[in-house]
């Protein structure tokens, strides 16, 4: 009987903890800017380029702050949506053993799951650039002139954006993105318009059509 009670209690507590972890995953806050042209909203943009500043943001336990550019692909069967992103990230639950370091990373999601990797540690006050674009058969992910990842091409184009993101509304999310560009068959062009949106308590302010800041 004693053994049964112990097993029962163990299972109960583990289930409770797993439930808490699952809840954490559904909480994300964003402050993001999108190139605001029909071509982009129709998922026909061929790439995104952007520079951002590194901030040593406050990140509470088991959460993260990430600031990145991304290409998002149109919805797929079953309501799935894929993307590729590249930027910097700080956070315990995501960076694992990096002890709160700020790292440049890339990530993507496809039919086989979510993949991501660090590249290098970066520091407050620095600025770094990121570029994601498609070639004939692959999407290429660059940062600071270094090819970080090639992703096999399954979509002709995508929706491009820059974003600050966090998994807790207790974190700080200072961000500054500029020189945002989009790629078309004719080449790279500065964003000539921008649509911006943020989840309170975070905010976004458009500086010009290809530059924005986020906070607090």
């Amino acid at each position: 009987m004693k053994k049964l009670i112990t097993i029962y209690l163990t299972i109960s507590v583990v289930c409770m903890l797993m439930s808490i972890l699952a809840l954490q995953d559904s909480s994300h806050w964003y402050a993001a800017g999108w190139w605001d042209e029909q071509m982009n909203w129709e998922y026909q943009t061929l790439g995104v380029y952007g520079v951002n500043s590194v901030y040593d943001v406050y990140v509470s336990s088991q959460t993260f702050v990430a600031e990145y550019v991304a290409v998002v692909f149109p919805p797929q069967q079953g309501g799935q949506q894929d993307w590729i992103e590249c930027g910097w990230i700080k956070g315990v639950s995501v960076v694992g053993d990096t002890q709160g370091k700020i790292m440049i990373y890339w990530g993507y999601k496809d039919e086989t799951g979510y993949y991501s990797s660090f590249w290098k540690e970066v520091f407050e006050g620095e600025s770094h650039w990121y570029k994601i674009y498609r070639g004939s058969n692959y999407w290429y992910v660059y940062s600071d002139g270094v090819l970080l990842k090639t992703v096999p091409l399954t979509y002709p184009g995508g929706l491009v954006q820059g974003a600050s993101e966090t998994s807790s509304d207790k974190n700080s999310m200072e961000g500054h993105f500029w020189n945002l560009k989009e790629k078309e068959p004719s080449g790279w062009w500065l964003w000539d318009s921008m649509y911006a949106d943020a989840d309170p308590p975070y905010w976004i302010q458009i500086i010009n059509s290809h530059e924005f800041i986020t906070g607090p």
């Binding site: 972890l21 964003y30 919805p75 993949y115 949106d197």
Partner: protein, 202 residues
């Protein structure tokens, strides 16, 4: 038995403490040097979730807006019929089939959870087409397999996120990227039949 419950309280406390200490073990490292799946409920960067709204249209309207006569399946499993036609922008059409009713939802990320057979047709500029061997390349680099339908080579894969079976190919003649997907209740053989019935000469 109940009167002795207090003797178990220390055990409960120890178990609770052990679970708290062990909790980080459940935290899969979402950013590692090698690609890994992070399906353990761990927060990881996503992208801002936008409501991607599709415009309900008739088949005729969709054909007119896309500017091409896109193929429709000549074969469907028994009892299935076209329930919704939604347009995203002016170049992507979603055809949602089911043997049950489907809601009037226009948020594509939601309504696409309701269908059982879903076909996505995307008009693509000629310069956006990948090389001819894209299906083989995807099977090699991503996984899945190549299915040959005569001259057309399609890429087929089971989507691990929801277990849908999806067949994708590029139709250079019609300037379309075509994707046929079925939910797990439909056999892969049936999916292949649906896809094949959309191809020229089928």
């Amino acid at each position: 038995m109940l009167s002795k419950i207090h003797t178990y309280i220390p055990i409960m406390v120890v178990i609770l403490l052990l679970c708290i200490v062990a909790a980080p073990l459940f935290h899969h490292e979402g950013v590692t040097q090698e690609p890994v799946s992070t399906e353990f409920g761990i927060p990881s960067p996503t992208v801002p979730p936008r409501a991607v709204t599709g415009t309900p249209v008739s088949l005729k309207e969709a054909q007119e807006i896309l500017g091409t006569e896109f193929p429709l399946p000549k074969y469907l499993p028994k009892g299935f019929e076209l329930k919704r036609v939604l347009l995203l922008g002016k170049n992507i059409v979603y055809l949602i089939y089911s043997d049950k009713e489907v809601s009037n939802e226009t948020n594509l990320l939601k309504v696409l959870k309701e269908g059982k057979i879903e076909i996505i047709l995307q008009k693509v500029r000629p310069e956006y087409f990948p090389s001819e061997n894209i299906a083989e390349m995807l099977a090699r680099d991503v996984g899945g397999s190549v299915i040959s339908f005569g001259e057309i080579k399609a890429w087929a894969i089971v989507d691990v996120r929801n277990n849908w079976f999806i067949i994708k190919w590029w139709d250079r003649d019609r300037l379309l990227r075509i994707s046929v997907g079925t939910d797990p209740s439909i056999s892969h053989e049936e999916t292949v039949k649906v896809a094949y019935s959309m191809m020229r000469g089928s």
